[in-house]
Structure formats: C-alpha cells, structure tokens
Amino acid sequence: MSTVKSKKLQVGTDATSSNNFTIYQPATPDGTLRIGVGNADSPTEVGRFNSNGYVATNAPAFSATSSANTPASSGVLTKLILDTEQFDTNSNFDNTTNYRFTPTVAGYYQINGIVITPSNADSTTIVIYKNGSHYVSTVAFHATIGVTNRYNISVLLYLNGSTDYIELYAAQYGGTVLGAGATMNGILIKAT
C-alpha cells in the first residue's frame, strides 16, 4: 500500500470550477481539514472537520434579546424589539431596524422564541411571523396573575436563503409592555 501526502486534493476536473471540490489543509495548519468549492488553486471554504467532527462554515445560528421592555398595548400583537445580539454567526439578524432574521443559506431552521409578560396580564399570545404573516402561534392563560410569566414557542420551518424572513410578535392582555429579556434564537438544521 502506498501513502500519498499532500496539502490539497482537488476532486473533479470540470471546466467550470464551481463543479469541483477541494479538500485541503490551511496555509497555517490548525488541526482542521477544510472542504472548499472550486479548484485547488482557489477553493472557497464551505465546511471543515476538526477533532469534534464536521462544522459547516456558513450555517447560520443566532440569538437576540430585548434589552428593555417593548411597549405593547393590551390586545395588540407587537413585534419584539430584539436589539441585543448574543451571537449571530452569519450576520443574518437585523437588531437595529426590523428585528428580523433573514438567513442567506436555504434550508430547514429550528426557531425558538421566549416572551416575558407583566404580572398584571392575564394571558399571552406569541406568534412567529414568516414574511410578515402569521406562521405559528401559541396562547397561554396565566394560572396566577401577580407574577411575571415566561412562555416559549418553537417551530421547524423552511427559509429560502434569500428573501424569507422571520419575526417574533406577542400580545399581552391587561398590561402595557412585553418584558425585557424576550429572546428569539435559531439555527440551520439542514441546508438544501
């Protein structure tokens, strides 16, 4: 058996470089094996293996939270002002203007929301909007009025990687705000 030692191995010889792949060690070895699209002279990395297994380079994951209360009239579905990013691996979350997640990689995403409602509210609605329209919702009736309540919503959905976006809305009934600390987070589960 022979042993081949190389820093790069191109798979494919198509005239169109984007039809070929290259597996390679980075110029400064760091314990990873890179996988790129393109010929061996200039591959574009799409993923890598490290000692823990495979890591997709561009797989979006994000978490954003509200640093202050979001003003919200009773009975009005209100978009949560998620102005603080905890992480945003692909810079796909807008935490300054529209408070929405618009991933640039197509695929199936797990999305979670957490809403905190005031102690004087008697019920809460949470809705995940896709492209400005109701996609999935949950309603909770508070067992005890007088305590702050936290509720979750989760969904697995498809986003096309270009124009699709999601937002987190909620309504409370009886108070005037949605509490600081509301969170939306998500991660690409399967690219398409």
Binding site: T70, S73, G75, V76, L77, T78, K79, S123, H134, A171
Partner: protein
C-alpha cells in the same frame, strides 16, 4: 386611550378571545413608530369602526 380600548369601548361585548389568533380581530404594532393599527377585521356581526368613530371615543 389605546386602539384596543377604543374598540372595546365601542363594542363592549368583545372579549380577549376576539383579539387572539383565530379570533375575529387582529390588532398589530410593528414597533416602527407608526403605532397600533387594525390588521384584520373578520367579526361576523360587528362592523369595523371608521376612523371617525375611533376618534370620537
């Protein structure tokens, strides 16, 4: 007075259930500074109030 309060003043028989998903009325605020608005009004018997009616409450 909020939009919700004006509507429930005009129509006191409405309940919170009317304003929940799968209810008859959807009020929305996009947190863009434009305030609350009626996004959908699907109540089977009550007509959507006019701006004049809301302003008069």
């Amino acid at each position: 007075m909020t939009l919700y309060e004006k509507i429930t003043t005009l129509y006191p028989d409405l309940t919170n259930a009317d304003f929940m998903p799968e209810g008859t009325i959807m009020l929305q605020n996009d947190s863009d500074g434009r305030g609350d608005y009626i996004r959908e009004w699907n109540h089977p018997t009550l007509a959507q109030p006019t701006q004049e009616q809301l302003d008069g409450v």
